[in-house]
């Protein structure tokens, strides 16, 4: 399905990542946002609040993040595409409702413009330290999808992708920006609406009599009906059967929770987006994402100039983690270098997937700025000298 032209600000713009994210949401068809504005994400909802009335939608500034993160889900069940926007402290408060979205299979997008933490931390300065929280923050077993843009252009492009994944898999998608990408201004090209592919709501074609809210038709993702359309309608965070009614027995739990997991895991190859460069013949592969991928590029180029064989793997999708790709590479390369603006999060995934076949080196940073390229270069040099595991 093509994008609704009313939401598409076709043209060439010089805007920051926050504004580009908002335009991506509008282009993807988002017509509802609820938020409790927080630096450095505020500009997204600020723009949405002024733009969305012109295309026929609603923004509600809520009393807190708990309210924001559940209100948007009400809007989704009412038929809208919806999202919320926050940063670390607010993201923490939203965890309960991220689990609710996963359990009720509510397609929606949570944007987290990461800043330094823990707690209130560094409101105006960057970090990438919510990556594990995005994956594991809510209780219970579930899968989500998380994307990491590294430029304002990607804030636009990938926000559309985030909404598309949310609709296709009926899953909450975490849009993991960082303060630098959010506040960085660059050229953003917004194509005409007829060049933007939008995944429509998986709405049921069944009759009221035949429809089962959580009945699957072989593809693991149930079809939706919206409130007020005449379909039997029950949405609960309790373990539920195909009718959507609570059924708290081990067999129903097993079937439901495994399906919630498998609908993502079985499609992981398709969801896992990455950018690779010179992996063939590489001794060292630098794995990075978000703003750090751009900083690391300088170190990679310097290392190559000094004769080292350095490949690049940029994670566009952080979750599901591209473990197959890392496993394949681990069999061929000496080592991985993982710079990130935290004290070691995605590096653990790299290490796990490498399973001892290649060494893994973290380049940690507590946040508040970006790495100095020379600090990454130093570790690349060290990693190139290490003995194969």
């Amino acid at each position: 399905m093509k994008a609704d032209p009313r939401g598409v600000l076709t043209g060439t713009h010089f805007i920051d990542g926050d504004h580009a994210c908002c335009e991506g949401a509008l282009a993807a068809g988002a017509r509802f946002a609820a938020g409790y504005p927080i630096t450095p994400s505020t500009e997204i909802v600020e723009r949405f609040a002024s733009r969305v009335p012109t295309v026929g939608g609603t923004f509600i500034q809520m009393e807190d993040e708990l309210a924001a993160s559940i209100t948007l889900q009400g809007a989704v069940w009412g038929g809208a595409k919806a999202f919320t926007v926050t940063s670390g402290p607010g993201f923490s408060l939203m965890m309960e409702h991220i689990g609710y979205a996963a359990m009720t299979e509510t397609p929606c997008v949570f944007v987290d413009v990461q800043r330094g933490g823990p707690s209130t931390g560094l409101p105006t300065l960057p970090a990438q330290a919510d990556m594990m929280q995005a994956r594991w923050g809510s209780h219970g077993d579930y899968e989500i999808i998380a994307l990491c843009p590294n430029s304002p252009q990607e804030c636009f492009d990938l926000t559309i992708k985030a909404f598309n994944f949310a609709e296709e898999f009926r899953v909450p998608v975490m849009f993991m920006m960082d303060e630098v990408v959010g506040h960085m201004t660059e050229k953003v090209v917004i194509p005409p609406a007829d060049q933007i592919e939008v995944f429509p709501r998986k709405h049921t074609h069944k009759s009221v009599e035949d429809y089962l809210p959580y009945g699957t038709n072989g593809d693991q993702v149930p079809e939706m009906a919206h409130a007020g359309e005449g379909y039997n309608f029950h949405v609960t965070g309790l373990t539920h059967d195909e009718r959507g009614y609570p059924n708290m027995t081990p067999p129903v739990q097993d079937k439901l929770v495994r399906r919630l997991q498998n609908k993502i895991r079985d499609a992981a190859d398709r969801i896992s987006l990455f950018e690779e460069d010179q992996l063939e013949g590489a001794d060292v592969v630098v794995v990075s994402y978000g703003i750090t991928s751009r900083v690391a590029q300088r170190a990679i180029e310097a290392a190559r100039e000094s004769g080292l064989h350095v490949g690049k793997l940029r994670l566009i999708t952080a979750w599901p983690f591209p473990e197959k790709k890392i496993r394949e590479l681990a069999a061929k390369v000496k080592s991985f270098v993982v710079p990130e603006l935290n004290l070691g999060q995605m590096v653990r995934e790299v290490e796990r997937a490498a399973a001892g076949k290649a060494r893994t080196f973290a380049v940690s940073h507590a946040g508040g700025g970006v790495h100095r390229p020379e600090d990454i270069l130093k570790v690349i040099v060290e990693a190139s000298r290490c003995q194969t595991a």
Partner: protein, 200 residues
């Protein structure tokens, strides 16, 4: 265009950020180059220290921050004291001459200094707020980094419609002032004369 690092600094309300946006837009949208602009976010509003970092290049910009600026535009003494020392050897310093007293300490770095009373010119044109358009015009003339037409277009599509003519006039005035400054880099006394010069 070679990778060029620029810092624009002053106090909030002078249009520091908009100046950087105008230059970045001119480069990336109207001149086919790449531009990345970041701004220092703090709790300040009007009157607080304010600074923008702009990187221009023919190839995509990776590292988003200025490390050793080639060009610096300073519009307040505070910004001058804080940022001028980081200017690269052989760099270009552009100052709001009524608000910045340039010390001699920079001279050993072979820095080219260009001064303009942008605020006074803006006031003469009728609105102090347009001093950034004056500054951007001056920048365009003295650095030769961007096509005047590209910057003119960026100014035209970035300012409120009701102030379009005024901003364009301010831009042209800055451009003219810069052209004169180039032929004879002005001393403080010369600058006074330049201010009185009117091409009309």
């Amino acid at each position: 265009m070679q990778l060029t690092e620029i810092r624009v600094a002053g106090f909030g309300g002078q249009g520091v950020i908009l100046s950087a946006i105008l230059l970045g837009k001119a480069a990336s949208i109207y001149q086919g180059a790449y531009a990345t602009m970041t701004q220092n976010f703090g709790p300040e509003a009007r009157g607080g220290a304010c600074s923008a970092q702009l990187i221009l290049s023919d190839s995509p910009v990776l590292y988003p921050y200025v490390t050793s600026p080639d060009i610096m535009v300073v519009m307040s003494q505070e910004a001058y004291v804080r940022f001028a020392p980081e200017l690269k050897d052989g760099g270009t310093l552009i100052v709001e001459q009524d608000l910045v007293r340039v010390s001699d300490t920079n001279t050993n770095k072979n820095i080219q200094v260009y001064s303009i009373p942008a605020t006074r010119i803006a006031e003469e044109l009728g609105k102090r707020m347009i001093l950034n358009s004056v500054m951007v015009g001056f920048f365009t003339a003295v650095t030769h980094l961007l096509d005047a037409d590209a910057v003119r277009k960026a100014v035209a599509d970035s300012v409120p419609k009701s102030f379009l003519d005024l901003n364009l006039k301010a831009f042209e005035r800055g451009l003219e002032f810069g052209a004169i400054a180039l032929t004879a880099p002005p001393s403080a006394a010369d600058a006074e004369l330049l201010l009185e010069y009117s091409p009309e």
